[in-house]
């Protein structure tokens, strides 16, 4: 894990790419905290923003997002050469299924697809990747996923790409499969139910309000069968079976 002031290589309304020469090796599904005010010019927004590492390669670290509030608006407005504080990689990330038997079903919705790209790339042909969004344009990183050697399917609410409907309707898990989901809580909940019905393991990558990303603010808890766990250090990837789904905010 490193903390650096990184230089922006490019930024737009869908993502930001940073130059972080000291970026260490990381695992698919890990995240970083991006600090918008590395030199104390604004003091607001004060807290760093958690973002999944979309892809990293030789110090070139990419994040993908939709503009939903002030932080993402400011990220989108960055110019090449601007400074951004970065702390990462953080969290546990995804673990590839141990056996070589079944498929890994990756289910992504909304901005959650950003967490899955490197995992899909790592799994290659073992991965069935299902991505959903309101429209085709709402699926983060779509073009990059299309370039991967994976079994890829889309679902959109308006039918603008692939299946018209919910992405989980494409899942059809079979014994031996393993499910990995990241997206809105309702989507992950549905994925977990389908996995449960099929008797296959399900791992979900959660979001939570974060201040520190490293286990010191105790802000990012989620309820599990072992009490509260921290999304930043125990997660973001959790075994769906261990979560108290009703207690998620």
């Amino acid at each position: 894990m490193i903390r650096a002031i990184a230089s922006v290589l490019r930024a737009d309304a869908h993502g930001v790419t940073l130059d972080v020469p000291e970026w260490p090796a990381h695992r698919p599904g890990q995240f970083a905290m991006l600090s918008l005010d590395p030199h104390g010019l604004h003091l607001d927004p004060l807290l760093p923003r958690p973002m999944a590492v979309f892809r990293a390669d030789g110090g070139r670290v990419e994040f993908r997002f939709h503009v939903v509030g002030r932080g993402t608006a400011l990220l989108a407005a960055l110019s090449p050469g601007d400074d951004l504080g970065v702390l990462g990689p953080l969290g546990n990330g995804f673990t590839a299924p141990a056996g070589s038997g079944g498929r890994a079903i990756l289910v992504g919705g909304g901005t959650g697809t950003a967490s899955l790209y490197e995992f899909a790339a790592q799994l290659g042909s073992r991965a069935r990747v299902l991505l959903g969004g309101r429209t085709r344009g709402a699926i983060l990183g779509l073009a990059d996923f299309e370039a991967l050697p994976v079994d890829l399917q889309f679902a959109t609410e308006d039918g603008s790409s692939g299946h018209r409907g919910l992405v989980t309707e494409l899942m059809a898990p079979e014994p031996g499969d393993e499910v990995f989901a990241c997206g809105p809580t309702a989507m992950m909940d549905a994925a977990w139910r389908l996995a449960q019905a099929a008797g296959v393991p399900c791992h979900v990558s959660l979001e939570s309000r974060m201040a520190c990303g490293i286990g010191i603010c105790l802000g990012c808890v989620v309820p599990t069968d072992q009490g509260f766990r921290y999304v930043c250090t125990d997660g973001p990837v959790f075994d769906a079976e261990r979560l108290d789904w009703k207690g998620l905010p």
């Binding site: 894990m1 903390r3 600090s35 005010d37 590395p38 104390g40 003091l43 607001d44 927004p45 004060l46 807290l47 760093p48 504080g85 702390l87 939570s208 309000r209 974060m210 201040a211 520190c212 490293i214 286990g215 010191i216 603010c217 105790l218 802000g219 990012c220 808890v221 989620v222 309820p223 009490g227 509260f228 207690g247 998620l248 905010p249």
Partner: protein, 315 residues
């Protein structure tokens, strides 16, 4: 003249940063605030705790506690609200597991809070002589069950009993961390001093509330939370200023410190040490930047010792 040669005495000495925390000598006056640095171990690789004055660990109760359900934090203009509540590993795990994991030479302040006065005293007793612990900080911003949930630090009589009980329970140095949610911080400061506090820490987070308007719900599950960060700095400076005029014991200033200049401001109004809290979230090395900024300020102004700043506000 060559570097390191005989002329070294011509170069100005680096300023003396050593500070006094209620009778404990510290390397420099910059500590980390309770609840914003875990138990110290989490910062390994990000901040060397031996380069700052010390840190105040997350407040401890007698037993481990779980705290509030999510959401526990939310951002506000130049600040944040938190309602972590009492979550901590408990005093025993702190002594048995957390303290031994720290490197040698780190000054640890153990923070104590509870819901009943007797239990505060008991936590203090357990901490007596814990290795590395240089002082205790009594967190008075905890709801007092017997007073119907108002904070210990909001009622002079309750605060007096609390400090008296803690004082009686331990020979260790006692810092009392005051609640900012009061009409007169000077009165509370005098109460704590009168009952034998060795120093004061102020301020704790201010009580606040935020609303998630789209969902029409409180932003925090607990509805109320503690406001921290630069937003509260002017209130914190005012309270340190007022407390410093009311008491003789040293004050540790806290509230929205993000730079060396912010630390200088707290020293000038009367604090002799400071704590960095929320700023560490955006930058785990913030306290080091505060220390460096403080040193640069002293050099720029030709001030030899950091303690010469204390209470040095001109008028």
């Amino acid at each position: 003249m060559t570097a390191g040669g005989a002329g070294a005495s011509d170069r100005p000495e680096p300023p003396d940063l050593s500070a006094d925390l209620c009778g404990v000598a510290l390397r420099n006056p910059v500590l980390l605030a309770s609840g914003t640095c875990g138990y110290g171990t989490e910062l390994a690789g990000l901040l060397d705790l031996r380069e700052i004055g010390g840190f105040v660990a997350k407040s401890l109760t007698l037993e481990p506690r779980a705290g509030n359900p999510p959401p526990r934090i939310t951002e506000t203009p130049a600040g944040m609200l938190n309602a972590i509540s009492l979550e901590n590993v408990g005093v025993e795990a702190f002594i048995d597991e957390k303290l031994p994991a720290l490197p040698e030479g780190v000054a640890v302040v153990a923070s104590v809070f509870e819901t009943e006065i007797e239990r505060y005293g008991e936590v203090c007793r357990r901490l007596e002589g814990a290795p590395g612990v240089v002082a205790l900080e009594i967190n008075a911003s905890c709801p007092h069950v017997k007073s119907g949930g108002i904070e210990f630090g909001q009622d002079p009589a309750v605060l007096a009993s609390l400090v008296r009980a803690c004082r009686a329970s331990t020979g260790m140095k006692l810092l009392v961390k005051l609640s900012p949610n009061v009409t007169s911080i000077a009165e509370m400061a005098r109460v704590a001093e009168g009952e034998g506090a060795d120093g004061l820490s102020l301020i704790n987070a201010m009580q606040g509330l935020a609303v998630d308007v789209e969902r029409r719900r409180p932003a925090l599950s607990n509805v109320l939370g503690g406001l921290s960060g630069p937003a509260i700095r002017p209130v914190a400076l005012r309270m340190v200023y007022q407390a410093a005029q009311a008491v003789k014991i040293p004050i540790c200033g806290i509230g929205g410190i993000t730079s060396g200049e912010d630390a200088v401001a707290f020293l000038l109004v009367g604090a002799s040490t400071v704590q960095v809290g929320t700023a560490s979230y955006a930058n785990p090395g913030a306290a080091l930047e505060v220390r460096d900024g403080l040193q640069a300020y002293l050099e720029r102004h030709g001030i030899a010792r950091v303690r010469d700043l204390v209470g040095g506000l001109l008028s």
